[in-house]
């Protein structure tokens, strides 16, 4: 049976493909599915893939990803792809890549960091290493791994 038939094609929206198997739920968490997420959403787990062996796929109807969401997904699913679907057709195909700098999407875990004070400031992290991910807060200069951040 073709994998696509397990969950029907979406008319308009976003398909995030080639997510490392087991990380699909985390992608949904990043997109905030727990907090009043109204869009029709499908999660396929452990789908057989020629390229990566096993993978997860997330399909969301009537939603375009924002840059902050793509950057955050890149932390846990680097090398995933993100396709824009319009009228059942793939109109845009993008690779999710971790940028060199992450701005305004993560909270610094250091309680003594100035970004956790009541100041008009967006958090900023420099990506020092991509595999495994290591991020340095550009204010308090502390280095964090992924488990500290998500």
């Amino acid at each position: 049976m073709k994998e696509e038939l397990r969950v029907r094609k979406i008319k308009d929206g976003t398909v995030i493909d080639h997510i490392k198997a087991g990380k699909g739920i985390k992608v949904l968490n990043i997109l905030g599915v727990e907090n009043g997420f109204a869009n029709v959403t499908a999660l396929l787990m452990n789908v057989t893939s020629k390229r990566v062996g096993k993978k997860d796929i997330v399909k969301i109807e009537n939603k375009a990803l924002r840059k902050e969401e793509v950057d955050k997904i890149a932390l846990i699913a680097p090398n995933a792809t993100w396709n824009v679907i319009k009228d059942f057709k793939v109109t845009e195909k993008n690779r999710i890549e971790l940028p060199d700098k992450l701005e305004g999407i993560l909270k610094c875990p250091n309680p003594k960091c100035v970004t956790n004070m009541n100041e008009p400031v967006r958090s900023k992290f420099k990506v020092e290493e991509k595999e495994p991910v290591k991020l340095r807060c550009m204010y308090c200069e502390r280095l964090f791994g992924l488990k500290d951040m998500l």
Partner: protein, 310 residues
């Protein structure tokens, strides 16, 4: 190379060439710092000193540096007499103060506060210590002192001793010494060792792997320079354990018996019990000379970031 308008926030922001330029200019400032000559390089300029936390050496040496160059100083220490006590944000305080002065130096308990201040200010900002993070002017004067005492930094055996986990001085000094190719030995009690992120940075950027030990005697034996900082008692839950470590991690004339003849002992001060007072009288005790070098270093920095020194 031009440092005019540059913020001095972290030793990580400075290249080796920029540090060498600051040292060269500090050397030129030394006769003025000692009061033997007068200069008017900063005449008409005002330094704003915003010390949200207490400080003796940093604030006074910045004041001395500015006044030795003919400039003037305004500012505060503690927040009780400022609008910060009414809940004003740091950003608003900086946007106000920058309109009254030409350069700002700031000490603040929150890590990253100096970086935030630099973003809020159109005038150069110099970090005078932000929590446990950075104190770049201290690191610059530490490197300068070592260079003055030993004539070089490259290949020197430098031992950092004490609470290497929490002391901001040690964290930035370790990185800076690695940048100048010193041989590093790290001596710390168990649990207070240098954090892995600094060790990784030293290894990845400078291909250097410091020796690490808990044993003071072997850690100081071959050292050209021993840099000590206090055990931060307030970080321990068990005060008895803290006192035990404080007693064990102490430099005494007896410990120094087997050391090199021309050893230099440095300390960022204030010292508490980690150096036996008898050591103060020994020729290896260089920490009070070290504290003087804070003045020419800060003169050089003030002159360079303001454009008064080319």
């Amino acid at each position: 190379m031009d440092l005019r308008g540059k913020d001095i926030i972290s030793i990580r922001d400075l290249s080796r060439e920029e540090i060498e330029l600051i040292h060269k200019k500090a050397e030129e400032m030394e006769p003025f710092a000692r009061g033997g000559k007068t200069c008017k390089l900063m005449e008409g300029k005002i330094l704003g000193t915003l010390f949200f936390e207490p400080s003796t050496r940093t604030r006074l040496s910045f004041t001395s540096a500015m006044q030795r160059m003919g400039g003037s100083v305004m500012g505060f220490e503690g927040v009780d007499v400022t609008s910060v006590s009414k809940g004003e944000s740091l950003t608003d305080t900086i946007k106000t103060v920058e309109r009254y002065c030409d350069i700002i130096t700031i000490r603040h308990p929150m890590e990253g506060a100096a970086r935030l201040a630099a973003e809020a200010s159109t005038k150069p900002v110099i970090n005078g210590g932000d929590g446990a993070n950075q104190h770049p002017t201290q690191t610059l004067l530490d490197l300068y002192t070592i260079k003055k005492m030993k004539g070089k930094i490259k290949s020197l055996n430098v031992t950092l001793l004490g609470d290497l986990k929490h002391a901001r001085t040690m964290r930035s000094l370790a990185t800076a010494l690695a940048m100048f190719d010193a041989n590093l030995t790290l001596v710390a009690p168990k649990g207070l060792e240098m954090s892995d992120d600094i060790l990784d940075e030293i290894k990845n950027k400078f291909n250097l792997k410091p020796k690490q030990t808990e044993d003071i005697d072997s850690g100081v034996k071959d050292a050209d320079v021993v840099y000590i900082c206090r055990i931060q008692k307030e970080r321990f839950e068990d005060k008895f354990e803290a006192e035990k470590i404080q007693k064990a991690f102490r430099i005494t004339p007896e410990v120094l018996k087997s050391c090199k003849e021309d050893l230099a002992i440095l300390h960022p001060l204030p010292k508490v019990t980690e150096i036996d007072p008898r050591v103060d009288e020994m020729k290896c005790a260089k920490y009070f000379d070290q504290t003087f070098y804070g003045v020419p270093i800060r003169m050089a920095i003030l002159g360079l970031v303001s454009g008064a020194i080319k």
